[in-house]
Structure formats: structure tokens, C-alpha cells
Subunit: 346 residues, 4 copies
């Protein structure tokens, strides 16, 4: 079958002879993929930032599709239209019972699993094997298209988790550091739940433009402190979402946080010694939360929200390409010419 395989830094190959996955465990299912997406997280291996990432990995962790084979304990049936969670977890252990699926002892990620958890192929392929299918897959409601449901598997769940963690009061001025797909979906979730002014801080001019087209205020990082001071009469922002995952982004986020503010970091961090300003954090009584989106927990809520017409996640899509054009998709995304690439399968 077709699939996008990681070969090393800046090298994704479209393979045509990948082995078809089959059900091995009672909880497994195999899904024929209809839509997948390229995610900002995929850029970490693409840019060679993760030396441990295994060459040969089939990439991709956001997908929709149709079940074609299901183990006896999979709780799904062939023919069902489903969306996957990027996080694979058992759903039964104490961590999962609390809703902490990313902390499951058996956690892994589609197409990313040599870095987190055991090996598991990704979904930028014609078919994908889904362990713990009863937990990982959700049936897509009839009133949603595949593309509308697609991002509940990662970026929309992540943006919504940021909103849940933020504890915002309606009307609050909110800052989002990072104008990629997570930053934009966070902005959408914050807006629909009552944010006042929403500022997206982003280096790339194209992304600032995309943010503006979605109705957000946008700002170059250098101008952010001044803008926030103006919007909040010098107080600082009560809620800041950091959606990049670098020390620089977190530093910027903390610098514009006001009294009793909550700074939510949903960027995937790998740092070991970010220079944290404890004195300022104490003086302002800040809360800093590092959160990982959890599709398993929140997608049912997101289904209702999308179906109600209040939030349209497809608004962040900049490119739709056939799966066969995946190599080009990575290149566009890497050069930040794309905000979000959806791959249309089959």
C-alpha cells in the first residue's frame, strides 16, 4: 500500500509497497484512511530535531477513515466511519480512568512512537493499524464530514485543552503565542468560550495574515508587549497560551502575563533549562500549566460544538493535497507557506 515514510532529516518518501496492517490483538482494528493531516509536531523529526526518531517510520497521527477489520474486543465494526486519537492508550488503567491517557503506561503515538512509547505506524498511508480501538477510535456523527472531525484527533483537541486549562473569564484579553494550526484552533476555542480581544503573536507574516483573516488581532513578537500593555491598560494578559514549544516562546508568554494569570503551554517542549523568572512569577502569582491535548476525553464535546455551527475547524486548513503529494506537503509546511495541510486519500 501507499504511505509516507520518514527517511531522515528533510527526507520523506512516498512508498508504494508498504505491508498492509492486519489485526493481531483482540483490541486491534484496521482503518482505511480517508483523510490525514500533517501536524506541526511532524516538523520536529522532519527538521532533524529528534535524533532518536526511527528512520522507516510511517508518519501521521491525525486521521479519519472507515473500519475494514476489527478484533473481537475492538468495539467497532467494519464499515463504521471513525476518527482516531493521536494518543493510543489502554483506557483501563488508573491513569486512563482519571482521564490522563497520555500518562498511561502503555501510551504510544501513531507515527511518532519511537520517541514516545512502543513502535506504531502512522496514518499518512492507505491503511492504519489501531490498537485499543475501543478507546482510540470514535464514530463520526452523521452530521459531521470527515474533514470536520479530523482535527478532533489532535490539533483541535489540543486547542480546546488549552481553553479548558486557561480558566478564562468572559471578556478577558487573551494572548496566543504561535500562529500555527494549534495556535489558531486555540484561538477559535477561546473565542467561542468568551474571550474578549485575542492576540496571536507570530513571526511569520503569512501566518499573521491567516490569523487576521480568522478575525484575530495579530502581532509580531517584538510588538507584543506593547500591544498587550495597551489592551490591558498596563496590567498584562490574564490568559496566555504558548503554542510553539520553544524557550523563546515560553519566555515571551511569561513576559506578557498579568496578575494571577494562567500561562498554558501546549507546545511540545524538549528543553532542560529554560531560564524561568521565579521572582516575577511569585510577585504576579502566576500559574503555569503544561498540557497535552486529549482527543479521547474531549472529542465528543467537540463533535457537538462543531455540529452546532459555533466552531469550524476546517477554517485553519490552508492546503488540501492528494496523499500522493505528501512530499510536497511536508516541504510547504516546513517553509511555513502552509498553516495546515490535509491529505485526501484514495
Amino acid at each position: 500500500m501507499l504511505g509516507a515514510v520518514y527517511r531522515g532529516a528533510h527526507h520523506v518518501e512516498l512508498c508504494t509497497d508498504l505491508a498492509m496492517p492486519t489485526v493481531a490483538e483482540p483490541g486491534d482494528a484496521v482503518v482505511r484512511v480517508t483523510r490525514s493531516a500533517i501536524c506541526g509536531t511532524d516538523l520536529h523529526p522532519y527538521r532533524g530535531e529528534l535524533p532518536d526518531f526511527a528512520a522507516g517510520t510511517v508518519l501521521g497521527h491525525e486521521f479519519t477513515g472507515v473500519v475494514v477489520e476489527a478484533g473481537v474486543a475492538a468495539s467497532v465494526k467494519p464499515g463504521q466511519r471513525v476518527v482516531g486519537s493521536d494518543i493510543v492508550a489502554c483506557g483501563r488503567c488508573p491513569m486512563c480512568i482519571r482521564g490522563w491517557h497520555y500518562q498511561c503506561a502503555d501510551v504510544t503515538l501513531f507515527g511518532y512512537s519511537t520517541v514516545v512509547g512502543r513502535s506504531l505506524g502512522g496514518a499518512q498511508a492507505e491503511y492504519v493499524l489501531v490498537p485499543h480501538a475501543d478507546v482510540v477510535l470514535a464514530e463520526i456523527p452523521d452530521d459531521l464530514t470527515d474533514e470536520q472531525a479530523l482535527f478532533t484527533g489532535d490539533v483541535l483537541a489540543t486547542g480546546y485543552q488549552a481553553t479548558l486549562a486557561a480558566g478564562m473569564a468572559p471578556g478577558d484579553t487573551v494572548v496566543v503565542v504561535g500562529g500555527g494550526a494549534v495556535g489558531l484552533t486555540a484561538g477559535l476555542c477561546l473565542r467561542v468560550t468568551g474571550a474578549g480581544a485575542i492576540v496571536i503573536a507570530e513571526l511569520a507574516a503569512e501566518r499573521r495574515q491567516a490569523a487576521a483573516q480568522l478575525g484575530f488581532l495579530s502581532s509580531h513578537p517584538d510588538e507584543l508587549p506593547g500591544l498587550v500593555a495597551q489592551l490591558t491598560r498596563g496590567a498584562g494578559a490574564p490568559v496566555v497560551v504558548e503554542a510553539v514549544g520553544t524557550d523563546a516562546a515560553l519566555g515571551l508568554a511569561l513576559s506578557v502575563a498579568g496578575p494571577q494569570a494562567t500561562v498554558v503551554s501546549v507546545g511540545a517542549h524538549h528543553g532542560v533549562a529554560f531560564p524561568f523568572p521565579t521572582g516575577a512569577a511569585f510577585a504576579r502569582e502566576l500559574t503555569v500549566k503544561f498540557v497535552v491535548g486529549n482527543p479521547i476525553r474531549v472529542r465528543d464535546t467537540l463533535f457537538r460544538l462543531i455540529a452546532s455551527g459555533r466552531l469550524d475547524p476546517t477554517a485553519v486548513v490552508s492546503h488540501r493535497l492528494p496523499l500522493t503529494d505528501v512530499v510536497n506537503g511536508y516541504d510547504l509546511f516546513d517553509r511555513q507557506e502552509a498553516t495546515k495541510v490535509v491529505l485526501v486519500h484514495g
Copy 2:
């Protein structure tokens, strides 16, 4: 001075020779009223439902104005533009420190105080005396007009309190029983914080029309159960706000509540033996909250929300009349021809 005085059931008189209030306690202030409003709560005495309500009371508990005199402990200064809280409380006792101002031992209400708390004149008059002015009054931000700030003193604070108590997830289908000003402002607050479909159930056709014009679904009470079943695939609504204050309204609200639902009652109840369906409430694990709006706690948030442009409380105003036309205002309101009457003073 001019003022609207309660004389008995269906009898409000515009008096012209009321005594001017003056500062008596260090915490007092006197405010020249610029706007006041007639509230659904005012209809209880107007319709003769409160036999203890004292004839001779100056009516009115929503107001904006300008401080003209201030005691040494009032924390406001002559010339400041202010909005009042309908609730008058000390702000210092343990109840107030927790934010439970309505439970303050010294609580009273403007123009309603013979029923709740000690005697205090209302604000449908040229001037009003404000005890505990440092707690009861808030300066109106420069970016808000008087009319935009007016309802933070009661109906908007009440609608928002319903939203706070509801604990809604975004996208939830929400039912509001009662299409008066509180019901409509609750709807506005629920919408801006993420509600999906919002249904306003209301007997009066004019009010259903007003609800529809604000973008809400509207329903005759008799048709509500069917509509809710359709919107929630038979489950029932996860959030129901009861904004009337009668047994019938509460019964309707409970009847459409779904599993683990929260029913928030913001209507002013006076009942003693509502026939509560405990078996159904247990089977569905319902929560029922009786809440009183608290302008003192929430108006600062509401100021920001209004200033952000996300919520326009003036959208619920159906009539603007001069104070001299107050008698007519009560009549319009009583006949449900008016949703909300604002009195323009001076």
C-alpha cells in the same frame, strides 16, 4: 424631587415632591440618577403578589448616575459616573468576604427593602441614597455608556450568574425557561461562553419573537419537550436555566433536563411546596441550584465583556421612556408588551 412611588397593587404614582436624600453615615453617597430600569422583580409588588410590600416605597433597583455627595468612607467622589448594585451589603463580614453578598446580615435592596432587609428607597427617582457606597457603587469605565453599564446592576449580573452556575460544556444545547429580560440576558451570556443551540421557552408570543430576533430558538412551553428531545436525540438538555420563579416554570425546567444536567433557577421563588420529582432527579443525577445575581462580584468582568464588543446588553431594551412616563412603563411591562423598559432621567 421626582420619583415613582408604590401605592398598592397596579398603582404606581409619579410624585414630584419627594424629599432629597442626604448623606447620613460615613459610607453613604447620594447619586443623581441618569438611567434606571423597570425589572421583572418589580412586577411582584405591582401585581399585588407581595402583601408585605410597603406602600410609599420609591421603586427601582437598577440605575446609573453621577455622585453628587459622598461620606468620608464612601470611596467615591462627586462627579464620578457610577452604576449601582441592586444588592446593598456591607462588603466586610464573612458572608461578603466569600462573595455571598446576598447573605450579608445587613443586606437590603433598593426599592424593595420592606420585603428583604431594612428600608431603603429606590432609584426610579431623581436622586438615590446609597449606603455602603464603596461596595455598592462601581465607577463606569470610560468606554461604556450609562445604558451599556445599567444592567450590570441586576439582570445582566443575574444572567451571567446563571451561566457561571451552569457549568456548561461548549456546544451544549441549553434551555432557558422564560423569555423576559433575565432569560434573554442569560441566553446572551450562555451564547458568548459557548452554548450550542439555545432554546427560550416562553408563553408570550411577543417575547418569543424578541428571542428569535436575538438569534435564539424559541418555543411555546407546550412544545418544549418535543423540541428538546429532537435537539438532543432524546437525551434531554445538559443545562436548563429557569428564569421565571414559579412552580410551573421549575417543573418545566426539570422535565427537560437530561443525564447529569444542571438546572439553575434564577427566578425569584416564593413557593413552599413545589412537587419535586425526586425519583427522576436521582435517576438522572441532577443538580439544582438556586442562585441570586451578584453585581458586586461580577460587574468588573461584565464591563470587560461589554467593552470587548462580544455582548451587547442593550439589545434586550424594548422601550426607552422619560422618567415622567414611568407609570406608563409599568403598564406596558405588566402587559408583557415590553421586554425591558429603560427610564431616561433628567
Copy 3:
């Protein structure tokens, strides 16, 4: 095999020739029961209050045991020491994902299922069939005995759920209406999480004595209002737990609730027209919550709490009888001579 079978009002029979259960579905397991308990809920059919309760039902919904057979999707293995949840739910649907297992479309109860959900035999027998075993069963940690774990399957989970719902501040005076096993475990949970004075209101003198021996204040219902007034300087209790399930008990609970109080009802209610005092509830801004204990959600927390030595659920056991003495157990329990009866199997 041996088992306690419901024959009708006041008639439980110890049968000796019940059919052994076997695994039928992939998610099923069969457990050899080591301990079961008689619960206050069992008295409803015993006293003939539930006309729909099917004669022939094997009773009992609290149990520990050892897995003897497991389906391929059961996630447990023969030989594992386990405790069951009284609630049987699928664990995968949107209701279960939110932690609302009692609202699962497939919900049922062991030994009670002709009233709630589909038919399922109880655990006052040598063996019990467990559907959805991956969800319903939990392995008992090595540092807990079977009896220590037993009540996490119902009464302790229920008492703890009351505590979670109560939202108590430490030092609060708390009232528990009902001195049965749920009331007492609620008292234990409230105490360990910070309650100040804890008053158990109970009609039966033996149970008031049991409450006193556990260190609680106890009160005859008639004397409760006076005692609460004295303890709270007339204010009323900030938290009241109603653990009986009758209109009278709920009425008493509401009557002693203070300003902004939360009244948590964990008694199983079947009423249709409890005369609810809406006026007083509005004046005091009460919250009333009907909650069902959920062992699946909370037992892991309870395991840690028991293992820490901070809470000993076995303190509520008044009688330990062999399974063969189950008929006597029901009789003792019905006459309120027993607070909690544990049946020792095999």
C-alpha cells in the same frame, strides 16, 4: 452453587443448586466470590417497596473475589484478586467517557437489574458473572485485604461521592441525615477531608450509638434543628448529606441547610412529588445535588486512602456471617440491628 435468591417481600432463600455462570461474551469474566455485603439498597425489594423487582433474582452488588474465567476482552486474568463495581457499564460510550457510568445506555446493577437495566445476577453467591469486566473489576492492591476493598464497590464510593459533591471548606459543620452504612461512610470521608463537627441524624438508637462510637455527634431527627442552630450560631449547616432516600429525610436535610449551602442526596429516591420549599431555597441560594456513587471512577483514590491508614471502611461492619447465614443477615439488617453485614464466602 450456593446463592441468596429473592422470592418476594421478606423472603430471601438460600439456594444450593444455582447454575454456575460461564463466560458468554468476550468482555465477560467469572469471579469466585470471597466477600459480599448486604446493602441498604437491598432492603427496598426486601421490604416489598419495589413491585417490579423480579422474584428469582440472585441478590448482592458489593463483592470481592478471585477471577476464575475471563473472556478474551476482559482485561483480567484467572487468579487475580478483584473488587467489583455495583454499577455495570460499557466504559466506552460518551456517558462513560465523561465518567457518568450510571447514565450509560447499557447500565445495569448486579442483583438489582430488573429495576435498573437488563437482567444480571448478584454476588451473594459462590460465583458471579461480570460483564464488561475490564471496566467493572479492579485488581485489589497487595496492601489491602478483601474486606478493606469490599466497600469501594458501593457504600464507600457513595460516601466519597457525597464528599466530592459537597464542596466543603475545612472546618465546616456538616450534617448527615441517616446513620446507615452510607451515612457513616460519608461521615468518615467528610472527616478525613476536613469537616469540623459532623452530626449524624438518625431515628434508630442503635445506629446513633454506632455513630457515636465512630466519633461523630449524633442526634435524633427531632433534635437536629436545635443542635445545628447551636453549632452554627443560628446560621444553618453549610453542607448536608441526605443518605436515606425518603421525602422526610430530604425535608429534614433542607430544613437545616444554611446560606449558600450544598445539600447532597445520595439516598436512592423513588418519589414523584416531594414538597420542595423553593422560596427558602432561593432566599438561602441553596444547591441540591442528587448523586450516585461511582466505584469505577473513585476506587483507585479510595485504595490509596485506605492503604494510607487515614480511613478504615471496615469500621462500619457490625456483623460478619457465613454466606450460609444470609437469610439471618437480611433479617438482622431489616430490623436495623445491623449497620452493615459482611458475608464471608467459602
Copy 4:
């Protein structure tokens, strides 16, 4: 009058001719001090760590006393027995209304105000001037002694705030880094609200002994990771309170935090570049909260808790000295021979 005056590093002088304070503003009160305490915060200037701390400052921010003079807006009366809040705030601005008194534009601290806010003398003196007395002072309930109420003015409020912020589940293993008075009171508050094992990590052997005498597990910092791993089966602690205020303490706290843990920092931090491990924080989904105790908000709850007999804050007192012995008190405290020094006035 008598009072302890800061002269510079390691130099506190007992002055005998300080000017008596008098009421200047309507909200002022003057209190004759009956008890004061030396706090860990006082060691920062004592050890010369705060170059901006003004020589000549009367020290001390925890106190009880009797009102001797009160301004017209002070809301207290001569003769009342009161306890002060270390934080002085207006109580009326939007920050205070939200309960964020430390973020009040007019915030200051008794005896510390040259570092935070405007100049204000401390309470290690015969009399102390109290601005915003209606907010800062609370009447001590009749059932509490002065010493029982004393610590609600700072260290107990701080320990309790840590508990509120921790969001602990009952039975959780909790780590407190720092065995001073704040660490110990945090431990007491955590215990009374349901913590399982509580480990106090502390360098000083005397303080570890004090912790052990209060019933806590104690650990040298070097042995903490091993102990926590053992208590939590390798998972890490779900709640860690950092009660020191140094980079080393915060680093230790983060190192023992488990999945989804909350790390609460109540130590007064002055750092600018703590090397924060963002990768580990993201992988474990940590929350880090910097919180300042707020006596104004919580002391009423603490009064009830102490009166209920569930918590005894005087258990952390190691030394009681006359005010005239204050210089010795600082010396004992600096050498960590004292856990908490209470000064008995007059």
C-alpha cells in the same frame, strides 16, 4: 514605645522611644499588639538578601492585639480583639473584589513595605498603625486565644493557600520541600484535608525532628527522590509544595513530581533565571502555581477549622519570648534553632 527596628544585615535593635502611631485616615486603626511573630520572610532582610530593604523599618507582620483607636471608616471599635493580615489592601478595587488582594494597586506589607508597596511600620512593637482596617483586621472569635489566631495573619493562611492550590485527592502522597513554619503549617493543612503520607524535606536536622514530632515523615533532600519513588511505586508525587523560595528548593520539588502533578510554590522567590526543565514538565503534564497566602480571604475558614479542634497552629511554635527579647529571637531563628518564635507583648 518599644519596637524592633531593622538596622541592616544581622542587626535588629530593640528601640524604646519609637513614636506612637495615630489615626490619620478615616480607614485607619491603631492596635495595641498582644502577640507578634518572627517569620521566615523576615530572614531575607536579616540576612542582607534584600539590599533595598530600608534601615529604620519597624519589623513584624504577624500580630494580634486590641484596637485602641479607630477612624470613622475603620469598621472596628476600641476594645475589640483582632488579628491582622500581613497583606494590606484596599478591599474595593477589582483586584480585591476578585480576592486578589496581593495584586491591589495599593498593596503593602507591615514591616516590609519598602520592598513591596508604600512605607508602613511593622507589628513587633507595642502599637501598630493599620490602614484599611475594615479589610486588614478581623475580630478574633471568642473561642480562640490570641496565639491560636495569630498565624491566620500569615503562615497558616499561606499553608492553607498551598492546600487550596494543590487540588489533592484524599490519600495522595504529598511532599513539602522546607520544614520551616510555612512548610509545617502546609503539612498540617494538607493532613486535615485528606493527604495520605506527608513527607517534609528539610536540610536542618532540628527541623526534621520537629516535623517528625508533628507526625510527618521527614527526609533529607538528598534522600527525597528515593523515598518518594518508594512511596509512590516509582510514579512520583501528585502534589508537591515548595515552601522555601530558592531555585534549589524548586528544582527539588519539580524532580519528585509525578504525572499530572501540581507543584505549588509558596516560598517567596526573587530569582530571575531558574533552570526550568520544560521537556520533563511537558512529558508529565505538570502544573506549577506560585501563590501568596491571603489571610483576608481565608481566615474566617481557618477560625472555624481551629475552633473545631481539627487543626492546632500553635503546634509549630518552638519559642515564646517577651518582646524585649526580640533580638535574641532573630538570632535563634537565623541559626534555625527555632521553628517559629512568638513574641509576647506587654
